[in-house]
Amino acid sequence: GESVGLHLPTLSVQEGDNSIINCAYSNSASDYFIWYKQESGKGPQFIIDIRSNMDKRQGQRVTVLLNKTVKHLSLQIAATQPGDSAVYFCAEIWVGGNTPLVFGKGTRLSVIA
């Protein structure tokens, strides 16, 4: 399959531990922030989103935190599993802008069994 994220920053986590993936964004006008997961040879897959007027949102084993003061977004994965190994991208949507769904730089998560 296709190899994604060869030159991306890597986070190595022991299986069962919690993972925290960080992202800095630049557009303070963005209305939504989203996390996508991309496994090798596949397209990105939606994980969770958060509106700009929220600071925290929880899903199944995942939590997204938004700090608009410092333009920082994080994804927390609880009890990391081998299947979580992938490249994670943050993305944003500015409803009033022209370009939809802009992706940020990714982070490779490597789960050590």
Binding site: V4, I34, G43, P44, Q45, N98, T99, P100, L101, F103
Partner: protein, 114 residues
């Protein structure tokens, strides 16, 4: 269909050759996006359709790149006179609307220009 389908999965083109990449979005999805992903990079926006209308093509890197969605469903990304720097994975995504955060991506077409 069950998801977004892209074809071909892999394409090798000689420099200077024209290529056409196809995207079949999820039925009923209004919005369709094309992205270019170089190795080790995030997806870079190319162009966006709302039904058959191409509302944003600001990401197309040159006039050699052309996209269409004539009936508001299937889309084709065409690259004329391919260059080595065009080598990348081309991703197509569809969603219910432009501001819908959950875009569904295809597996991509890996283009290699030799």
């Amino acid at each position: 269909g069950a998801g977004v389908s892209q074809s071909p999965r892999y394409k090798v083109a000689k420099r200077g050759q024209d290529v056409a990449l196809r995207c079949d979005p999820i039925s009923g999805h209004v919005s369709l996006f094309w992205y270019q992903q170089a190795l080790g990079q995030g997806p870079e926006f190319l162009t966006y359709f709302q039904n058959e209308a191409q509302l944003d093509k600001s990401g197309l890197p040159s006039d050699r790149f052309f996209a269409e969605r004539p009936e508001g469903s299937v889309s084709t990304l065409k690259i004329q006179r391919t260059q080595q720097e065009d080598s990348a994975v081309y991703l197509c995504a569809s969603s219910l609307s432009r501001v819908n955060t959950e875009a569904f991506f295809g597996q991509g077409t890996r283009l290699t220009v030799v």
